[in-house]
Subunit: 257 residues, 2 copies
Amino acid sequence: MKIVFIGAGNLAFGLSKKINNLEGFEIIQVISRSENSAKELSDILNCRYSINIDDVLDADLYFIAVNDDAIKKVAGHIMLKNKFVVHTSGSVDISVLSENTKKFGVFYLLQSFKKYSDIDFDEIPVIVEASDDECLKKLKTLAGKISKSVYNYNSNQRFTIHLSAVFANNFTNHLIYIAQKILTDNHISPEIIIPLVVKTAEKISSDKAEECQTGPAKRNDLETINRHIEYLKSKYDLYPELYKFISNSIIDTYKKV
Amino acid sequence: MKIVFIGAGNLAFGLSKKINNLEGFEIIQVISRSENSAKELSDILNCRYSINIDDVLDADLYFIAVNDDAIKKVAGHIMLKNKFVVHTSGSVDISVLSENTKKFGVFYLLQSFKKYSDIDFDEIPVIVEASDDECLKKLKTLAGKISKSVYNYNSNQRFTIHLSAVFANNFTNHLIYIAQKILTDNHISPEIIIPLVVKTAEKISSDKAEECQTGPAKRNDLETINRHIEYLKSKYDLYPELYKFISNSIIDTYKKV
């Protein structure tokens, strides 16, 4: 199966390298507006590259791994007419691919990527969706060679999976950032908090988050909550309100149960 | 070293079992207002128990592992006069122990405990503080037999460590709860998010949280942010505001950098 990658960002780097190593699959070209990125990735994949989509080669499958708001435009390009195209976005509806072709799909990896990180794809959930059964089967086959966890969900469900990933990854990462900022502002090593962060994630693997909840808000310990808020007010602009908001949400959650 | 545990909650269960297994240390008694808990823990430790602090035995060290607001009262009990007492709280000042004795300290484990979980203490940071060098040395020795990570920080620093733990554990756990609620509300297995949660924590171990930040708020991708908020508004009361607040904090953080 000959594949072209359009886009050479973090996800394209990770995913294309993985696919190129699979038997029966070959990345034949990388297209990116950034010549540096296109060349860098094509060197790794040992394939051709171009900065111009007009140069796109004939292939069995086209990965559109570009920014969300550029997907529709790329998919509508004349050179991709009647081709098998898939995008890799968590939140963009599959229908944006439908104007130019009848064979299309989505190939969404539930993980955040960095350009050069070593990735163990085995455990990464791959969520696929397609225009028809034949395309779906092809995407499932490819996904199954990459990961043990392959799911077929529609665009609305994928949107909510992406939203939940924002809470579970982007937002938790920011809270850990705040935790480490509070520590370094008090001349305490930010690493002191790492074992707790790792343990928090480990617990989720065996118990539901609801059952793992502890802390002042869970106990409705208003004295400690107020001391925390007073301290945050004395040092930070946004964090006192953030603390209140999340604490209130916790109090509200466990009051109802 | 003969030790009495006052309190038989989650922390007392975990810590007392660990200490009782150390050579040269023996828990001789558990005191708790709850007879069930006192008996349960004393059975495990193979020691005496009482529900009345008037029965407390003579010992070299007394652990006060009770609720924050009860520590001062327990420490002031006539039977503990001039004894070596320590509390285990993250946020209570060491000075609450000073009225009844000159030998006192704090022994705070930066981890959340469950009564019967198997705990690997090796990596858990232990933060100690004491009234004087001799008491500090004793607590450091004990802490060093429990964990590789022993720190001496004062009460103000320990307060901020506890506050940072609220962000890094309690709050992140709640966000994961929300993520899993969004999934189950859409008939998607909540387990789909677990690999991402584990990866988020793993990344923190090698990179600073600031460098790991990704997502719509980091990219200032207002279109996706607004679609997320509209969706949350259609389903939930508190979560749209929570989403906005954390996103604004992320936008604010990376605008300044």
